[in-house]
Symmetry: none
């Protein structure tokens, strides 16, 4: 039973779909929590746009950067292929170059999950877009705005997301229509984004499996090969490092830790430390 | 299963991302608890700024100092590389110097997680900034403040974060706008801070992986080597110290503790103690 | 798994950070419990100050004394280095003297954790300070206090921490402002205390790691050596004392307690007792 659980856990850890779903789920939950606590549109001329845009774009950028930074593979990749300063002598074959491209695309795909989820969720909810777009609504065709100066109109438009109760009933009607329009635009943008992302996933999956230098069996072999390489290398490095340290400790204390035959122990002088 | 759990726990302990997330999570939780219990803006002229700033800056400074102090590595580092008084004879090679720099940056990075999280969370929440900035709001363009003396105006501005019910409805409107403006400034500052921090993380990750004197495999080996060195040294030191003490006790009492063949015991004289 | 748990528990017990956090956490919890049950400001002229100060200072003093008393090391230290009457012949080397200083500072540091936490928590909460300072508030600039006699004013001021419902609405406003002012003073004092303590920790950590006569590895070895010495000495002393007593009992009764082969028993004569 426990072996079975282990297998399930380790196959889940290896499965990209599970991890991607987890990231997307956490992003959606975090967005709901975050926006209900902190988002309050300033409703002031010239500030709504920056405020709404910051809440839309900055978290997505941060999630993108975090997605790249947290992948250790990314840095291994960067230091192996991009920085030629440390390894000037090594030649990179065309096959290696194509495999590196493949790996870079797979890392980018994983890193894009969280920011795209954030953008999709916030656009479908519409609150941030409503705040950001409030000043740019076109209200020329409403008779209420006929005899109102430009600065006063800007102020009224900027106040739309805040639902001030002091407005007249005509203005409330206009406000409701503008808010509905922005909600419509935001959600349409969200659907377009989701459609584009899904198409991109489909196309890239096709491209990878068609244009890969490997057949599918070869690809499977290669993936496992990389994993095995890492595991066996780690084991060897561990043993090598332990042997080295044991030798050094023997010189300092006169015996290696865990050895049975202690002929003599040695009290290290201050010089030795 | 238990072996697997051990592996997961130990790999989590070694994983920087997990520890950083834990630190950030604890900081956010602590901030929520702390601020709901203790923060009450004084709402008095000349005091709001100091009070709000103290709640913003002092905990961040304390978290920074704690982050440095709690890392044993930091002191090992300081005593090994900075204080040349105790070890005047040892030469430090350029490679060692670069590795020391690398380690110092990694310690600093870990120490900055908690204070930056504190600043980001408090700025995004906005309560402390609201209190600190309340006296500096520019309200010259509001007609309500036209025929009010300077000292009375200062008092009114300082009272804004406290939501006193005695104010007129005009004043309440102005108050709401000023509070929204401060919330906007605070959250924008928060976003700018988060963006700068994220950029710094990205750039430093790039620099480290590009300019490190090690390739990624070497770096992995070196990290494990340091860990193994610490563990094996501790084991050897433990055994060495036990052997030494056993010898000394044997001289005092005539037998070593836990030994089976007690030929003779020895009552120590007053001189021996 | 159990081995792993044991390791974690014993390394936590040895880790100073963990113990300090535990002490601080217990102090905070105890303060919350204690103050919610027992603290009720007397609100009478001439008593508030003594009552509030007692709750602020006395528990801190008790915690300080307890911190010193509960450390067995402290008494070992005192009897070894301060009382020269019992061991007039032993010479103390300069290295020993520096190590003793180091140990004294480490014991003092641990003993200061609880009282400083108490002071910081109570000052940040502000209830005790509010009660102690209530009589010293300067209310000359409030018009409500214009035509009130000095003794009546003292009584009113002493009653501020109790929130008596019989006061007029003007007086309630003044009371709220005074309470906010005291809360401000108390929390600022708390922040100053915390900042000073943090700075002291940082400076002393630096000084210790720079001016220690040991390198970091040597220091680590020495700490473990002291612990092992204590543990093994206790074990040996226990066994030694049991052996001695068994021999003496055997001489008295003819057999040792718990032994299987009882060849003869011996009825002790009156002389033997």
């Amino acid at each position: 039973m426990s072996l079975n659980l282990n297998n399930i856990v380790s196959s889940l850890q290896r499965s990209g779909t599970f991890i991607n779903s987890l990231i997307a789920g956490l992003t959606i939950g975090g967005q709901q929590l975050f926006s209900s606590y902190t988002f309050r549109c300033p409703c002031q001329v010239g500030r709504n746009f920056y405020y709404g845009s910051a809440f839309l774009v900055v978290p997505a950028l941060i999630l993108l950067v975090a997605g790249y930074s947290l992948r250790g593979q990314m840095w291994k990749f960067a230091s192996d292929y991009c920085c030629s300063c440390s390894l000037p002598r090594r030649r990179i074959s065309p096959l290696e170059r194509r495999l590196a491209c493949l790996r870079f695309f797979s890392i980018t795909g994983r890193a894009l999950v969280a920011p795209l989820t954030w953008l999709a969720v916030t656009l479908l909810k519409g609150t941030y877009y409503e705040c950001a777009a409030s000043e740019f609504a076109s209200v020329d065709h409403y008779p209420v705005f006929g005899n109102i100066t430009a600065s006063k109109r800007e102020e009224l438009l900027a106040g739309f997301p805040c639902d001030r109760s002091s407005a007249s009933s005509d203005m409330t009607l206009v406000r409701d229509e503008v808010v509905l329009l922005h909600r419509y635009q935001s959600q349409m943008l969200g659907w377009i984004l989701i459609t584009l992302a899904t198409t991109a996933v489909l196309v890239s999956c096709c491209l990878v499996s068609c244009c890969s230098p490997f057949s599918s069996l070869q690809h499977h072999y290669w993936t496992r090969h990389l994993e095995n390489e890492r595991a066996l290398f780690e084991q060897a490095a561990e043993e090598h490092s332990r042997l080295l340290i044991r030798q050094r400790i023997k010189k300092l204390f006169g015996f290696a830790p865990g050895s049975e035959d202690i002929t003599q122990i040695h009290i290290p002088s201050c010089q030795d430390w």
